[in-house]
């Protein structure tokens, strides 16, 4: 049972590491000219 918990913990840690390595880019597209028709 202990070995099972250790394995689950290792997999969870690996998943967390994989997810947290990814970056996120957010933003908006602004229009500053004359209002489009």
């Amino acid at each position: 049972m202990t070995r099972l918990w250790i394995s689950c913990g290792a997999v969870a840690a690996l998943l967390l590491a994989t997810v947290s390595d990814a970056a996120t880019v957010t933003g908006k597209v602004v229009f500053s000219g004359a209002k489009p028709v």
Partner: protein, 190 residues
């Protein structure tokens, strides 16, 4: 649109062109934002989920669609009238197919990266859409709030491009580290 009663009946108010839609907060709708270059050379998994483009009220919905290469695209006709959908790619193969009123869904895909593919209807000349086809999942299309989010991007230096059908492309170089959350805005000055 008034020349086709079935199209006109679908709208309670006259439809405006979607070639440049300014949101109430000063942002632009239907701008395609994507990682243009800098990604590692690898095969990104293609979503099994189908993308979709609908012909509804004699308009394409969405007006700008973004998919991955080889991702299935369901093409629907919700209108009580014939349509003839006609993508006009320069890199992928061109096709042109009619779809009867409320006809069966067609499923298509594009095997090669191409930004952008104009789409027209041979029956209704005002109908226009654009399909972006890219080989990776790092893209977004701005909506009613003009924002975009690109998630799960590997650390690296990239060219981030915004593409708008009327105002063209805008590029920015960005560098993101592992776990970064970065805010990048684009401004069109016309």
């Amino acid at each position: 649109m008034s020349a086709t009663p079935a199209c006109q009946r679908a709208h309670s108010t006259p439809q405006k062109s979607e070639t440049a839609v300014l949101n109430s907060n000063g942002t632009l709708r239907y701008t395609f934002v994507w990682i243009k270059s800098g990604l590692p050379n690898k095969q990104w998994p293609v979503p099994t989920a189908h993308a979709a483009i609908d012909q509804k009220g004699c308009m394409y919905a969405p007006h700008v669609l973004a998919v991955m290469t080889n991702q299935p695209i369901d093409i629907r006709n919700d209108d009580p009238t014939n349509h003839n959908i006609h993508p006009q790619p320069k890199i992928n193969q061109e096709w042109n197919e009619s779809q009867p009123p409320k006809g069966d869904t067609k499923t298509k895909s594009f095997p090669r990266e191409e930004v952008m593919i104009p789409v027209k209807c041979n029956v209704h000349p005002w109908m226009r859409a654009y399909i972006a086809v890219v080989h990776h999942p790092f893209f977004a299309v701005t909506g009613e709030d003009g924002t975009f989010t690109i998630k799960d991007l590997p650390a690296g230096t990239y060219t981030l491009e915004a593409w708008h059908e009327t105002y063209g492309p805008l590029d920015q170089q960005i560098t993101v580290g592992a776990s970064d959350s970065k805010t990048i805005d684009f401004t069109y000055k016309k």
